[in-house]
Amino acid sequence: MKPVIGLEVHVELKTKSKMFCGCSADYFGKKPNTHTCPVCLGLPGALPVPNKTAIEWCVMLGMALDCNIPLFSKFDRKNYFYPDLAKGYQISQYDEPFCLKGSIKLGSGKTIRITRVHMEEDTGKLIHENVNGQGITLIDFNRSGVPLVEIVTEPDFDNTKDVLDYLKKLQQIARYLDISNADMEKGDMRLEPNISLRSNTTNTTNNTNQQITNKLPNYKVEVKNINSFRFVEKAIAFEIKRQTEIIEKKGIPVQETRGWDENKQKTVTQRVKEEASDYRYFPEPDIPPIRWNDKKLLMIKKQIPELPDTKKRRFQKQYNISQYDAEILTREKTLADFYETCVNDGQKANLTAKQVSNYIINKKIDIESTLPAEIIKNIKALTIYLRIDESEIKKIVERVLNENKNAVGDYRNGKVSAVQYLIGKVLMVSKEKLEVSRVKKILEEKLND
């Protein structure tokens, strides 16, 4: 049996204000219900007006994912009753989303098709508590109305490794575009895999039957609202195992929504929000539609920086570094920019891009606390050491060992610290600056001969 996996990912945008009102979208850790107004509290008569930046960022993400951007788009109401949604509906997009039909290419070479990328609003936060032995639910609407982008894929995954690669790439692109912090711990990214199994038993050569086995399974299990890559991995692995067992007993897994329970290390059936998922979508009457023209779309496109994959390929070619090094250096845009500044500065000091990348990667440089100029200085110092011939150092070492027979004896009798004394002597005798680790290595080789 082969897993068939699709993904829905919600990414919270880091706009200053909310999606349809001017309340601050920076709600994390703030006093409850202090970032609200009639619009995001869903009070009657309030008029939502969409945030231009949020819409442009949604389109920008769609473009970065190679989507088509239809010239006409609109918002719709998705109706359901749940206490985190004050209006009784969520403003979302149904049949005319901002972005359609994109793709992401994975490290494995596989291409994942993206069905759509659309804009919607976040809900309030529910907190379940026990007060005086009574179970209550508390609602904080600070998050209500914060802009969310939903990215939906086709069921193109068949293993968790690809799922994780996809999620990391998506997170990286959102960060490169600077439209979301995509911080899992703060709930900026929420993951919903849908999983089913396709049997690959081909016990017949009949053509029509073969077609049937290639069709998608007639059920799917959705796991909702996962906020960690690790949990997604575990939830998918668990579902594959659970569903395999059901199918092996000739059963069919129930089509349902489940949640990942980290304490129990398993997925559990969730009470469904609404008995029938009949959202009665209809066009949002309060928000006029959005129409693009080529000029406006071009303006958005121009704001897209060089994206990770392109940057990685360019680094490999332009700086003559390995794919692995390019991968590390482009993982975050700030590091990539830092590297390029160093390479530029390094050129003036006759350092190659490869020397710079080796240093930054091997020394695990903290770019927050180091200046490019320091990096160049340090590499320069290292390269001077390296130019001194090994035989030159060996000569000095021989001399020092001959002149310090006592220390040599101490070392050979187990007093390892004597080597420090000898290193000091070598450094003193040498006219050139020597690298301590190199001297130590040569000394120890001789001493242990």
Partner: protein, 91 residues
Amino acid sequence: MKINVKHVAKLANLPLSQEEEKKFEKQLSSILEYVEQLNSVDTKNFEITSQITGLENITREDKTSISLFQEEALSNSKSNHNGMFKIKKIL
């Protein structure tokens, strides 16, 4: 046209008595029949629209404005606790 009033009421989160169900089933059906008359209009040369205001691209700049005070936000709530709206436990 027959309408499943129970289903519609459930989706709309409306508690209806049996009498009301009967009453609204009739009323909703007749409303639908009335609106159905639109089907007789020839719309061949009209574009489909969901907005008749003629407005497009009404957006706002990404700027924050002042929100309500917590007390104001909670002032219409039936019950609150620690600055939050309080309801019966849901799952």
